[in-house]
Symmetry: C2
């Protein structure tokens, strides 16, 4: 079969790889119906060092952590799943039974891990061996050709990530919200904040096609300015105070700096952008304002059951973040397009 491998910065290839087979009795094999490219895939695409010391043939790493598909085979220890089931996988696999999982923190599962890690398949391919399949996969009550597949695919990562950001921040009808970043996660954070009842949602982003979708998702104000000017604008919009919650959906230092500057005293900065910085600017001023920093990698599995219902009944359409659909062979160009901001989020039909 074919799958996507990354060899280094800017070097993504679609290649023939062995078909996945069951290795553990807790495995399943899933034929991928839809996958996609994540903003976080762009970090290695931008900066992954090439391992010169390794033979080229060994350098490639499987990549992709968002997929839904059809169960093709299940191990003997897997209950509740059978060949033909349509399923979605969260972006971290987990047994869903350990103490962390039971607390809703499947990203810290004692027997889980990341897609694309050594010995583990990535999602951007024709099929995937799924470890801990019973804990990881969630059955979807739809057919292979459902029009809902794009929105259901967002359950892998981008929608629960936006939701995690909003829930961790404590967004509710009485909290004002600033969302930093108009990428797919930022837009899903807007959607999630709206879904949790927020009435005032300020979206900071400068790509009008994206912020336009943000408005449709629930943003009440858009601030295109960045840095100092952007901070002043948000403060202006909030009587000088900033917002109760700030959803940081970028991961770069200027974004987290801005986040603390637009947070109201006693408020919460919640971050889901994978930090590309070692330290957080949360010194004396943040301390004196009692601003909390929360969030982190989203335990998507904890949220899928709840969010799924809203997709099935049409309450939300997070799949609207996909603005380009490609085949597997076009994946390298999909990376290029997302990196160049030609595409917001790229859907893959293998």
């Amino acid at each position: 079969m074919r799958a996507t491998l990354i060899y280094g910065a800017g070097d993504v290839r679609v290649e023939k790889v062995p078909d996945p087979v069951l290795r553990e009795p807790t495995d399943a094999v899933v034929r991928v119906l839809r996958s996609c490219i994540c903003g976080s895939d762009l970090w290695p695409y931008k900066s992954m060092p090439v391992s010169e010391s390794m033979p080229v043939a060994e350098r490639g790493q499987r990549i992709g952590h968002e997929f839904l598909g059809v169960v093709e085979d299940v191990g003997t220890d897997v209950s509740g799943l059978k060949t033909g089931d349509v399923v979605v996988a969260p972006f971290v696999w987990a047994d869903n039974t350990c103490d962390f999982c039971l607390e809703g923190l499947q990203t810290s599962c004692r027997h889980g891990g990341l897609w694309g890690a050594p010995g583990v398949d990535g999602g951007q391919g024709e099929a995937v061996r799924v470890p801990q399949a019973e804990g990881t996969l969630v059955k979807l009550p739809v057919d292979e050709d459902s029009a809902l597949l794009p929105s259901l695919l967002t359950l892998s990562d981008v929608f629960p990530t936006g939701h995690h950001c909003a829930v961790s921040a404590g967004v509710n009808p009485s909290t004002t919200v600033t969302v930093i970043g108009d990428g797919a996660v930022g837009l899903c954070a807007v959607l999630s904040a709206k879904r949790l009842g927020a009435e005032r949602i300020i979206l900071m982003g400068r790509h009008s096609d994206r912020t336009d979708l943000g408005r449709e998702f629930g943003a009440t104000d858009v601030v295109a300015e960045r840095g100092k000017e952007g901070i002043e604008k948000v403060r202006e919009l909030t009587g000088g105070d900033g917002t109760h919650t700030v959803l940081e959906c970028v991961g770069l230092k200027p974004a987290i700096e801005t986040a603390f500057e637009v947070a109201r005293a006693g408020g919460v900065v919640s971050r889901v952008g994978a930090p590309q910085y070692p330290e957080v600017p949360a010194g004396f001023g943040v301390f004196m304002s009692n601003i909390t920093l929360t969030g982190g990698v989203a335990p998507a599995r904890a949220y899928i059951d709840e969010l799924l219902l809203d997709i099935l009944d049409g309450t939300v359409q997070p799949g609207r973040v996909f603005d380009r659909t490609i085949g597997l062979d076009e994946v390298p160009d999909g990376y290029r397009a997302m990196d160049a901001r030609e595409a917001l989020k790229v859907l893959i039909r293998p």
Copy 2:
């Protein structure tokens, strides 16, 4: 009257100053019965630059932010207080009616401020002009010679600060706790965690006289090691995981670094040590573990009513943190003794 002024690092003097008088109709004047020296007073004592450009006579700043005393005079806009009332003041004065105050964040009061700021008295003196007296002062149902005065004085700062640390962290009977720092705040954090029902409280501190008191306050384990060894020790005590909550009561970079290293995934680091660092080491690893950073300057006023009851009925005795009592003239030596760690916390009887 006499009051304490700080002129620069290591230079604390007790001098004659004008008697306080009502300036605003919202003021009161309080004769001080008890005051004390705070760990945070030691920051300027260690490092306050001397303003060489200023005439010496103008360099002194009033200092001290913890006091209880007797009301001597009240402004025309002050209700509920009268001459002779015994009262305690929180370490930030506030109107207790603005939106922040009503949310329990009196440290961000729109009309409040700090003791010892320009034009505002400090607490280490014979008397204090109290701005926003009605919102700031809390009446104490005791006499001037009550044996409870030391514990009641801790309501100014150190007890509510420990409590804020524990409450913000979400300490409850099912959370394990690490307290970093065996100063008076750390010990009050132990007391507060115990009061909130925590059953496992690990105290990190290396002064056995202090950690002994910590054990009496509720610590179940003491870790004297610091840095890497201390982290390993706490992890060892918790099956490798760390604790659900970490109460950081120091304010130095190594302490906040340790805090994140001993926090369990999904846990909370709560800090009340005034940060002597500009940035928090909360990058990718902390993000992947979904560890929250919370806490900040404690809105003592929000907690006094509740904590007072437990002091009055003898449930807690936070006044045990005072291990030395001095007169006002001995204040410079009190600073020296606390800075040299000869004294844990110094009580002043002006």
